[in-house]
Subunit: 247 residues, 2 copies
């Protein structure tokens, strides 16, 4: 039983990061022609209130927007959902409760990949929004995987946020990359054995050859996870016919 499932992408946070994920899903799919590719439905509503503002500064709660988007994807026929926004994962519980289809966690998938790369007890550096850092999303997931997490100093973190804002405004220049590198080099000096580009805007301006340690791209990790899930063979319970399964 290898019916392909439909990937739902809850996107728009930001739009370029969503386009990046979609491209990485295509590249991660074994295909020689259109019809070998996967059915992908993307709901990219950029009006979702800023996730970091909500977590740190009392901004509007994005949860109702996230739930509405997830329900649109479920209604359109998505088999499961991926969310190309690390910070949005702070609100994942409520969104999971609002739909019947699974949501794959980019955080958990990435932590598993880092754990396969670094020895137990090693440190990974986190480049992310202040919201993601403050919510402890990656610190918790890395700790659960037996790794230590390093986060930037306040000054370096401010440079990361400036780089992310520049990408969201469409500035993918070297100057934007340099802002992110301030924090990257700080974390490497503190002993990070790998860095996580843990805001979906960062892989758009940070490349592996920008730094001397492995750079983990959670967007690429999520793309591979989505393709894996969409293509996964499913064993059917006794008496259930393939037609009864949501595809």
């Amino acid at each position: 039983m290898t019916t392909k499932r439909t990937i739902g992408v809850l996107g728009g946070m930001g739009p370029l990061a969503t386009a990046d994920l979609y491209r990485k899903i295509i590249e991660a799919t074994p295909a020689r022609r259109d019809q070998d590719h996967l059915h992908v439905i993307i709901d990219a509503d950029p009006s979702v209130p800023d996730r970091t503002e909500a977590l740190l500064h009392g901004g509007p709660d994005p949860t109702p927007w996230l739930i509405a988007g997830a329900q649109r994807l479920e209604g359109a026929g998505a088999s499961f959902i991926v969310i190309p926004c690390n910070t949005a994962h702070a609100f994942l519980g409520a969104v999971r409760d609002a739909v019947a289809i699974p949501i794959i966690s980019m955080i958990d998938e990435t932590a598993a990949e880092v754990a396969a790369l670094l020895p137990r007890g090693a440190a990974a550096g986190i480049l992310a929004t202040s919201g993601t850092v403050s919510a402890g999303l990656y610190q918790d997931a890395l700790a659960a995987a037996g790794l230590r997490a390093l986060v930037p100093s306040p000054d370096a973190q401010a440079q990361v946020m400036a780089a992310i804002a520049a990408v969201k405004a469409g500035d993918l220049s070297r100057a934007t990359t340099e802002k992110a590198l301030v924090a990257a080099y700080e974390l490497i000096e503190q002993g990070a054995g790998a860095l996580l580009a843990a805001c979906t805007e960062l892989p758009l301006i940070l490349q592996p050859n920008d730094i001397p340690v492995p750079l983990i791209d959670p967007t690429a990790v999520l793309a591979r996870a989505a393709v894996r899930e969409a293509l996964a063979a499913r064993s059917l319970p006794e008496g259930v016919t393939p037609d009864a399964i949501r595809t």
Copy 2:
């Protein structure tokens, strides 16, 4: 009344072309932050049967797939639809009949842009699938705009099809570009004052500086048209309140 409308993208034909359109929509949107961007819903079902096969070789009719996708977009809340596949426009009439929301024609938008660029009676060269060429989509639209259309010889057309198939298989190399350039230079020698990269795979491997005449990218034209329509102020008929309008 300037409520932003939601863009529906009926995609997957092929997936890379859909990703290219989405990226071009983002780039064409005036925005400084996520929330300035437009709500885009993409249904990319690559299982739609090959459009050229249906037009030329008796292959399965893609119309039911196109209608199903258009209806999913309408159901999810799209205000209008764009289709980043030139050849699919041969089936546009039936799809338009199946939904209540408008579908913007990439062919008509592109012909209007070429007509603004070239003097009346000038010739434009068409690089497209054999299905698009055979259906006469651009020949008819250019004629209506007062222009002549030039199409490749059978041998050169075969090279265009080989280039398109290579892109669909993920090969964006220079060798793929060279295949398309065989037809491009043939049409330029015949007097084409501009070339249309009129299959959505072609802008992925052909750049303006590859040829000495203007290269029109219908995907970029469609992206600008989608942003224009999404942002267009709408005048309301007497007695109609904004809430009564689908946004």
